[in-house]
Symmetry: C3
Subunit: 664 residues, 3 copies
């Protein structure tokens, strides 16, 4: 059976990740034809194939890859080629051991798996440019090549930062560039605090193995430095690909909840963004710490809808209109791809269950509804060797179609038209705030992602579409802006938020908002620093609650984990604390269009957000547990993520199911 | 009181581990006489005494050991001498620091306790041979010397593998010997997977400190290499002892559930096998992860009968008839010794309770019933210095008899005749499968030992005697062969199993059977690879269940942890899954005499095994919790391992008790 | 408002820790005046200011410190100056990397926080003496300078011991000094045990990274060595300060439950002792392992009264009358200071709640009642930079008074007269026993502090004042001496305890008393070694109980964790075990005035102590949960540490409150 063709410009397209080098060559044509018959358009290849492209230093072997690309071409597949820099070969590592990264314990991270390189290494940078150039020279204008993926999953396996070697050597120069003088650096970091002032640039090391915690400003700048190394590393590849592969798109496949670099900075210069969506592994392994075990059990076979959707909404907006120029076959504003979509069990979480019946279709539909123009499954055939033999593919080890194959085959792609996601609510996300927040959580249960996802989930439970946007994004057009954990606020951000509020947008902030200066210190005039006028209040107290210690709030709410109170300087308290050391103090404050929620309390957050949405004239719906709505291109995707039928609006949603409804 | 002598050839004999170097010389004769009076035959000495034999490089001091051996001799004790290589002295370590091993974190493991050496070190090998030779020259023909123990507890404290130093240096050469060419190695390991192909032998390191998990084939070969280093190390000592100590036996004291080397290979060349039996510490510290806390609490003072018995049944069959030539005073086929038998509290587990009243006798009786010809208690007098001062002995620190002494004294050795263990059921155990299984468990609760012990325990709960045998063992004579976790199956194994089934034996396999090739990959035609014809089925799905997620099975069973289903190609389903993604699929399949159980479910496993036993005409008994039967030499040992009286077959078994019954 | 002056010789005085180098100079005078107006007498400064005193090697900058000291002087504050050696500057560390310490994993502990030095480093010792000398030369006779604090919090962040570098180099020489010959060392350590005998001093390393646990005698001597390095390090500073700063006191601020050195030895030569009291962080982070989660939750906002009081009673008696000569403004026997008193939330525990309303006053009153002459709050203004931005001060970041400020302001200092704490009960505490106990706990739930605090808490729950004293302290005057965990007993101690008992004092000992020799071995004639005659018994059995396994005791008690029994040789059993392997054996024994409690059982311990107190004619009171009594200078402080009102003696104690009652 061959799918009927639909114009790629009007509906979701599919793809797959394939590894011709893993199977005998006699399979190549057959696989490519099977892929095409399944209705797949794109095939991503070669991201780990450096060793086959250049078996020995300077000895290239392109013949096999030529034939592989031709096989896809002949079958009508569009090829996404990857720079193979995620896996430098053994000969390169042993000749240049200085390219290896160091872990936070100061140990060299060894060859023998993947991502064993330091982004800051000038030696590795040179080889990265070289292999990119020779690859682009050979395939840059091949008619089958639709575009490029740089490297693979930056940051995976905690590889964003190296604590030694090249990174340690380059860091002082980066600081010198940034601060000019040591006096400026010492002042910015507050190094006077524990006599930590430097008198020479080469005295400065990565912030690790210190006797007790390092200076958070030191940590923050190391995060910025490491992020910049990744940005530079990719930019060098992008420049070469632009030169040698005109008309082809360039993208990167980003990770689930990856914290190690500033994705906004690194994405700049790409045509569009992709990410790798593994819903069950995400819930087991990458979920923020507040996700309880019973939730993990309940959603074990589907993943949690809000965790997945958060990543979709984040990556859809990562380029914020700055990319999309070179994209092929897509006309959605901010459209993105899922480059690797789970289509069976994974192998890397503590527990790796089979997806529920229908989950692969549900994931695909959700990706579409949140703005994906292409969903590309990982992988074609399950690997029969090495680290991932227990990871599924569309085909089993024995080449028979696995469960996911049938679900993909049964998809009605025509029901997934591309187009705009009509979000009128923005949730502000910022990597610098993330780094500052998690450097000093003050409470073992508090993390940036946990706080951010809690607000996101509250919005989604109210049936609202959300754009996750950067702290420097344009706020025009949003009627509600939610800033759950933006602890690091600049004067520029303050004036932009103020303008938005003055322009009529509602603003809801979480605790610790504007607690930090851009340098990672606190404001000498205290929280909310440059936001104080807008908020009409100042910090009074913050309280860090251990499990079992809670704090009551008016309206029947209860805070756990965190409770902040405020001195009112224009704002009014809408909720106050009851009992305990905060009794009578303001828990939620309102100043014009601006609300600050000081406490961790799911019900309070949902109540405040519901109120704000209603004031902003956004229609809300109190959805049942596990039911979600997502809108795109004039359609609404109704989803049931639970394993039970759920009554909703006069009908029953089957378990693990979706329905595409045309909006009236 | 002196025990009456019974011929050592007809009943269990006892021994003790003693350390003359730990006490003043004036105690030696008295202790030896006391030992003899207690009815002990053997005394094991000197396994940690290198520093006293050779206080400085090349300066030997034999005088003290001469006098100690004479003291035992005069009292009529038979001496088991040990090569002292488990504790290289400080002068050797400091002069040759290259003999020290490295841990998996890449750190040198330091002098200051024991087992601080790398089996692969050529320097240490030379000193091992030297000290063995001079010892054997002096004592090899001493009339008091009954035999030799090599070294002590290979692998204890995770010392089977060293990740650096000598092992790292020798590994590439071993690989070259095995594979011949790098092409062959790269192909065998599937190094193409992540560009891990090697272009020089010296590029290959131990599989550690990689960025994410190393290649399981790399891990598997490192385990094989490390095991071979241990085999060679011991073989060198054995050759010298054979030369210089004719007529004496050579053995080694193996560990509880030690996984670090192939015990079948290492045991080859020994006369018989011994192991060190610490039931309470075993339950606290060495128990497979599935043993629940309430089980640990219930059996805290006795250990769990099946964990202990498994080790007995494993070590009884370790040599599979290939040893036993040089053994003194024993005529059991496959008879073994317990070289160190706990006789009071130990000191090395997280909690170290007193044994229950009667436990020392119960352990001794159980050892006998499972085939031990000698049980040797650890140790004579509790050490008054250093690491083990809180470990008990038969005597207290103050030389008064401790509780175990009285229990040993009260034993009726005449009731323990030596002879055959009449097992007709074999359980297949294989170290290569263990390594492959645990390298990629796919489920945090699944381990090789856990799966293996679950099947063993089911058999024991049905009152059946079991031979634990190797994957290369002769299957002749067994009416039922159980293979719980043999995930790595060769063509040779497949043909042997097929022959056994054709010969009428029943075969029951667990999940993941034959999932792996001998190289650690998967079969390109999928599970069951070379067993497919025999099994009459192929893998359909496998499902890895987190705690709280279960899978129902027909017949009222419930799977946890793991559930596999099959495509039937001749086989028939005897049980099917109900509900969830596996609904309606085969959970247990039967093809002729061959059954495969795909799910982790204690009740299902017991049901299937009960059925297979009945078909094979093995009498079964559904034993009450904690009651066990063991048969030897025409007798049955009935055991109650619980702290309560248990009604059984018309009588009441007292707590922590046994009864020897003559079989009709 | 300015407080009325009260003579410093008759009532509690207050102080504060301040950091002029952290704020603009224009604040200095204003802060000093505010401090004075708040009623504060002392200000401690400069313990982390080395980098500002000596910005580059040999370039001193005293101008800023001159002006800061003058600002305090002008406002009438008394200055406590610190040697700044807790934070060697970057230039020193990079020029002399050999001063850095090593952690137990063998890694260099890096510059970038604090305490990054090895006490044994001769290079660092030289710089420590130099900076002390130049500081003392400049400020030693300044009229504002009341005294000196050496360094800061010895041992904090596990810095008592360095496992490499300078300590590793110096250790062998220290051993040679102690033992003279290697034969003596080998004998003392029992190195024959595992062939661990040394043949050269330089073969000996710190006891770490051994394959399994190191020799406990090795561990014990390394603890002694490391402690002696700290003693020497401080003694060098003290000698210089004595020379150059006549008439000024010298003290050190010790830590909560710090175990890394012998505080009695290190304190010798100081004028008086201070410690740093952080009640909420103490409960979360430093509490012994037996403190349950529900207790941590219940006392989350106050800390636990007994944990705090134990430290007060320990430090009050640390000098045992040998100090106090140079103290200014204090006339209490053994009076001490709280140098850093928590006055808001801290930042370093897993959870850092706000203190309850009234907690700062309660902590201050409790400190007074347990013998503090000065309570000095940490810190004046919350830091706006670096590691401790989330730690509170009396002022907030924005310089407004925080909650603690108001509580301090409202204190009635006149109600806190200085004078004697009338303890007639002594609890014996010994660092060598602590090291020996914790080196081999034999039970994962048993620690020295846990056992010691359990007995202390039982005494406090009976309303009794306690002196925590050293094992070498004079016992004269005590009617009851309690030794919960003195496992290492010398002949000298035995004769002193015997004399006390003969003199009429009652003695109550816990399990494992006198189990160890001073060398860390056991007595060859067994427990109780030199105490055997006094105790009238010998060890029979000890039993280490896992959670869930308990042991009944007559009188309705139940043991957990540990149960010892005894052979009676003059003593009588007052309680016996019931059931299990100890049934019928003595659990508590009494011999004249001496009682030994063999079991871990809170109710049993309380019963036995109540009986002993009554026999010793000490009035007891069975206090309600959370209510405590403390007596000083003819007054009784009644405290309610709970969050609820508690009825007591006909009245109701408000939550988190105290009352000072004049004794009739």
């Amino acid at each position: 059976m061959t799918r009927p063709e639909t114009s790629p410009s009007v509906r979701l397209q599919l793809g797959v990740c394939d590894y011709p080098e893993h199977v005998p060559e006699d399979r190549w044509s057959a696989y490519a034809q099977q892929q095409r018959q399944l209705g797949l358009t794109y095939v991503r290849i070669a991201e780990f194939a450096w060793g086959r492209m250049e078996p020995r230093s300077g000895e290239y072997d392109w013949a096999w890859l030529d034939r592989a690309v031709e096989a896809y071409h002949a079958a009508g597949m569009r090829v996404v080629l990857c720079t193979p820099t995620a896996t430098p070969p053994a000969w390169l590592v042993r000749f240049h051991p200085e390219i290896l990264p160091y872990d936070a314990q100061g140990r060299v991270r060894e060859f023998g798996s993947r991502r064993h390189y330091d982004f800051a290494s000038p030696v590795y940078r040179e080889h990265s440019r070289r292999i990119t150039r020779v690859m682009a020279e050979r395939y840059g204008q091949h008619p089958a090549v639709a575009g490029w993926q740089t490297d693979n999953e930056f940051g995976c396996h905690a590889t964003s930062r190296s604590f030694g070697g090249a990174s340690a050597a380059v860091f002082p120069g980066w600081l010198q560039q940034k601060y000019g003088t040591l006096e400026a650096l010492n002042e910015a970091w507050g190094n006077v605090f524990w006599s930590m002032e430097y008198t020479g640039w080469d005295e400065i090391r990565p912030p690790h193995l210190t006797v007790t915690e390092p200076n958070p400003s030191h940590v923050l700048d190391y995060a910025r430095f490491s992020s910049e190394m990744i940005r530079q590393f990719q930019a060098e590849q992008v420049a070469i690909l632009r030169e040698l592969s005109p008309g082809r798109f360039i993208t990167h496949n980003f990770m689930i909840f990856e914290s190690g670099f500033d994705h906004y900075e690194v994405a700049r210069g790409l045509d569009f963004v992709t990410w790798d969506n593994y819903p069950t592994g995400m819930l087991e392994y990458f979920a923020p710490p507040g996700i309880r075990e019973d939730v993990k059990t309940r959603y074990a076979r589907t993943g949690h809808p809000d965790l997945i959707a958060f990543n979709h909404d984040l990556y859809r907006n990562l380029l914020e209109g700055r990319g999309a120029l070179g994209r092929e076959g897509a006309d959605s504003p901010n459209g993105f791809w899922v480059m690797e979509q789970q289509c069976g069990q994974v192998n890397w979480a503590p527990y790796n269950p089979l997806p529920a019946d229908g989950a692969v279709q549900l994931w695909t539909a959700q990706a579409w509804a949140h703005g994906a123009d292409v969903v590309s499954y990982f992988r074609w055939r399950a690997a029969t060797m090495a680290q991932e033999v227990m990871h599924s593919g569309l085909l089993r080890h024995d080449e028979t179609p696995d469960r996911g194959f049938a679900e993909v085959q049964a998809l009605d792609l025509g029901s997934f038209p591309v187009g705009n996601v009509p979000a009128r609510v923005a949730l502000v996300h910022d990597y610098e705030s993330l780094w500052a927040y998690d450097a000093q959580p003050h409470n073992a249960a508090a993390t940036y992602w946990q706080q951010t996802v809690t607000y996101y989930s509250a919005l989604r439970s109210l049936g609202v579409d959300v754009d996750v946007i950067s702290a420097s994004a344009d706020l025009t057009g949003y009627v509600l802006v939610v800033a759950p954990a933006i602890t690091l606020v600049t004067a520029e951000m303050a004036s932009r938020w103020t303008a938005a509020a003055q322009g009529g947008a509602f603003l809801v902030c979480g605790p610790r908002t504007a607690f930090r200066t851009p340098g990672g210190a606190t404001w000498t005039d205290g929280q909310f620093g440059p936001l104080s006028t807008l908020v009409g209040a100042r910090l009074l107290q913050y309280d860090s609650l251990r499990p079992g210690v809670t704090q009551d709030i008016s309206g029947g709410h209860t805070a756990h984990t965190w409770a902040e109170s405020y001195r009112l300087q224009g704002a009014q308290a809408t909720h106050t604390y009851q009992g305990g050391p905060l009794t009578g103090q303001a828990a939620v404050i309102r100043h014009g269009n601006v609300t600050v929620i000081g406490a961790s309390s799911e019900s309070l957050i949902q109540d405040v957000l519901r109120g704000a949405l209603q004031e902003a004239q956004v229609v809300t719906a109190d959805l049942p547990e596990g039911v979600r709505l997502s809108r795109r291109a004039g359609h609404t995707l109704v989803q049931n993520w639970t394993a039970e039928p759920v009554p909703w609006q006069g009908r029953v949603l089957p378990p693990t199911s979706f329905e595409v409804m045309h909006d009236q």
